[in-house]
Symmetry: D2
Subunit: 346 residues, 4 copies
């Protein structure tokens, strides 16, 4: 495929370039940056030496990009991505859009506008939510993909079987998530300053993180009814990795075996979901650099709760990897193409 | 005070030595180790050079230790501490015992025996639970202190005001805690091997960690009724620090101001508890090396839950610091003596 | 190729498995462990789930292993590897041996015996030192490869052009190296205990590290005369990565351009050596997970010294990656096969 | 003493505040910040809650500050500090100035101007270089102290005895130093961005770091002759700590005992210098949070070199701690006052 990446210099863009460098069907045409157009990508990211010598283009080249590309990945801040999506599909209705930000994740634009504080300017787009395992059949025919957030991918995958098979009380859902610092991007801030983050842990955006409505929308759709959750993100001193620890009250009479069966029914054919089983502990390091999502679950008989835990690499299954997985689906490739390698451990 | 430390070569013992080195009223008499008796403590812990030149004694010296000491800190594995406590108090009924392990933490020995799988051999001891802020008046007159666990200290301090003032549904308590690796001690294990822990995060002992019954017992006592909780510990790649993120359903009609007032009522006179307030985020690094417990809380109107968060240094307020705080209370010293210095940041 | 790995449960073995999982010509037949035979490799290393389901064999299976394999990688402690090499080649003279330890690295067995304190028991082996870029033509026809040490790979690659083109005073060579903890392996020790290593740095084995004679032997061979060096290893709190900072006095009249030319002449056709150039700074993270060696150099006119710096991933170019590179050379595959992917950054 | 800190919001300022909070003779009057005047220091640094409630003043208050203070610590960028020093001493000739930057470190202003690219505007100041152990008698009577740099403190202390007792070839000095990220300050930069620094190591400013001429000037003064050195700083992923690994050629006939004796002669009465001895390995963690400098040395008979290693906490002995040590000397206090506590380990 002929591929362009609009907004390629953030960590998500760099991760796309890393993955696509080994993707047998990928040809990267254009990569853009508004802050450093004209610079070689290997100057910004020397680790990509030997793989790319491209010079960064800019959005001024969008017409050319849209016309020549079969698929455009967008790594821009929310609000900007939908503008690119709108224009690019107008220029070339055949081009596929995979946006790694939030602009195309919400069917209900009002929720998007409420949480993101901007007007949605591409409401006519028939975007599909790109959590591949749950929306594969829609992804197949999609023109525009809203690629899921990192926290949401891990959290939804952990909880979806419980919700789908109606095993838990929907009012009881609590997600306590821990993320590495790469999730905050490459932009400078005191919150990502080494000495502030190192040897420390904290929660942030409690009851206000924007991945909350995304999780609610998807789980609510699966449940067939609206629901609200508690989602608490934490920053831990690692570069990559998300662990989502999810709590729910089991409905009366739900047996451990019924829970196990729900996970198997939901995921047994899924290559990228590794079900570790009941009593097992996902470890973020076991997924490092890969598109895998490891899931384990625990039942506490004393309290009647299930604790479901998912681990992913936030930059891969939580961003660039899932984006490539979606591209593979759209273009009828084996879904594993370019993504089938073992984690970097230790 | 004349002080001895039985089991001094673990991290808790080393931390006691660090703190006592600057305690104006402390005189360390004996320190013991069963694995390395006869060795100088500065050979095992070179950082203590200039502060200690003592050679390690062993339990064979217990009679001498008990007779000459005014207070004995015990840093032994559970099961062994109560034996030392029993013998030492028999030898010298005046000596005060502060055990940093679990043996003296439970009023209900059956719960201890059930979770720790050993028979309690010192049931006649009238031990006091040494969470100083909650049991100060009993600590004052105690002969034996069961010093609280690290997770329990943070978790109980975060939740106690909510339970005490009956603001939350007691069936809804969930504690999601994150700990540094020093909590696992200095004993070698793959779980504490650098390359396994670094750049990773995982949960462990879900629904089975031994701090669970300790938290339940204390919160239950405060509530005046039995309760069960979910407690999920996580290992994060830092040396020190615990963050306890606690979830509870607010009872109908409880206002944010009532919550704020409960925290103030519970802790406003407490030097070592720093109430950051509603909407604030405790950060473990802000407590590093000190006896402080930082607490913040958040109310989610959408779900009706409160999220209370506490941060401590697990080796100080979660172990050695609180032990010294208890010693100060017992010996009628200013509670801050030897503990009143600023955190090491960054 | 039909491949077996003897001693597969250390980090080097796990890294071989990771790399071979994506190698198009590799078929892993047997993997052995003396400590855990009969266990599934995915139980020891869950990150390998989806890639291996093999059960660990043991050295008791050596006859079968030697007969059926085309190449055997050895990941055993020194002293044991040469025994396996001797027996395996006796059983099957066609099988190729690639030893990742020290047993086959020294042409001069006396030096080996002096530094490693064991008798060499396979002196008749005509082993080749597997620093591919320097010994490629010999590797091509080798039956037994002594795969270089991690420190030695980085250090020799940084210094070889300077020595080869006689630009530096051979009496002035000093190597100050920094390594991640994975270099110490998966065996438990206080020196690899998380809390001891984290937030700290130290030197070790000064003037006594066993990679010293290995570097001396190779650089001496290149120079055509014996030489001694200072080599100082340091442990830094990362999992992967070696940085070798190498000092040498430039001979009188050597121009910066002559230095640049030496590096180009030595390495310009080498895919895995990325010459960053004069004034550039190699960063270990830029090589993470890959077989690249990044080299930069600096000339200090004030002191007349050159400072040459090399960065590698100790488990890849410093161990398993270079071993696979050598295998590719031996079997006439493109040297990059299975190794041509981008580093995991950040 | 009445103390003010001009430029208090960097890490050095915060560390001064931490130390002074436990200094029995210290009274902090004014603390300033040009970027955040009017803000409470505990808002910027919540870890200081319970110790300071002060609101930040600014340089507009310098007259008041100079008149009311007995000592002013300056934590400003170079070029600015000497302006404050000049004005403050003009306002109040009695006030003592301790500058933690470079402005007052050089007797030879031409060297300062050459390396720092600014004109020196306070040349008439009779400043003393505040490496306490080497310049104590001058510090005692100094009005203005140029407090040493972090790298320079560790490096000079490691090499000074060898230079003083003429044991080494002065042309052979090489310093390979490793520093934590706090040395780069709290200002945001990609070089201190968590995800860039973590799990990585690199050299920087090779042959050009500004601590080079500082080390040369002091060692040259000790030697009684000019000298040039190689100094190579490295960034390692820790918050605090510097390890200086120093190489020198021993003169012919210098015995190991003569080296040992030189270290003892130089430092045996020094409380803050802990001589670990020949063959010992300083560890930065063993000095964490304290004013100690740990020194060990190794002699390599094969090459005739000595490798001397020093470890410090860059923010304490490398900055704020030594500044307080100097204040103690100036005001005739016990030099250990406020600095005599054990390191935070682990």
């Amino acid at each position: 495929m002929k591929i362009s990446i609009v907004g390629a210099t953030g960590y998500t863009g760099a991760e796309l370039l890393r993955i696509l460098a080994s993707h047998p069907a990928a040809e990267v045409l254009y990569i853009t940056s508004e802050s450093q157009p004209g610079t070689g990508i290997h100057e910004i990211y020397p680790h990509l030496t030997r793989f790319y010598t491209k010079t960064l283009a800019s959005l001024a080249d969008l017409e050319k990009i849209a016309l020549e590309s079969e698929v455009i990945f967008i790594g821009l801040p929310h609000g900007h991505a939908m503008e690119v999506g709108r224009k690019a599909t107008a220029i070339n209705p055949q081009v596929k859009i995979i946006d790694l930000g939030a602009d195309y994740r919400f069917k209900n634009h009002a929720i998007y506008e409420q949480w993101y504080k901007v007007e949605h300017t591409h409401k006519e787009a028939r975007a599909v939510y790109g959590l591949t395992e749950l929306y594969r059949s829609q992804v197949k025919d999609a023109a525009i993909i809203g690629n899921p957030g990192c926290y949401t991918t891990a959290s939804i995958l952990a909880l979806a079987p419980l919700v789908k098979y109606k095993l838990v009380d929907l009012k009881s859902l609590i997600i306590d998530a821990k993320s590495g610092v790469s999730g905050a991007g490459r932009g400078l801030s005191l919150g990502s300053h080494f000495t502030e983050v190192f040897e420390s842990v904290k929660a942030y955006n409690v009851a206000g993180h924007r991945h909350t409505p995304e999780i609610e929308a998807v789980l609510g759709e699966i449940a067939g009814q609206e629901l609200v959750i508690n989602f608490t993100p934490h920053l831990i001193p690692v570069a990559r990795g998300i662990l989502s620890t999810c709590y729910a009250n089991l409905k009366d009479g739900v047996s451990p075996e019924a829970v196990d069966e729900a996970y198997r029914a939901a995921y047994s054919g899924e290559y990228f979901i590794r079900l570790l089983g009941r009593g097992a502990y996902p470890v973020t390091k076991n997924t490092r650099g890969t598109n895998f999502c490891d899931i384990g679950w625990h039942i506490d008989n004393r309290t009647g709760r299930i604790i479901a835990i998912a681990a992913i690499d936030n930059l891969v299954k939580g961003a660039a990897g899932q984006a490539v997985q979606n591209m593979n689906v759209i273009f009828n490739l084996d879904e594993k193409t370019g993504l089938d390698y073992a984690p970097l451990y230790p």
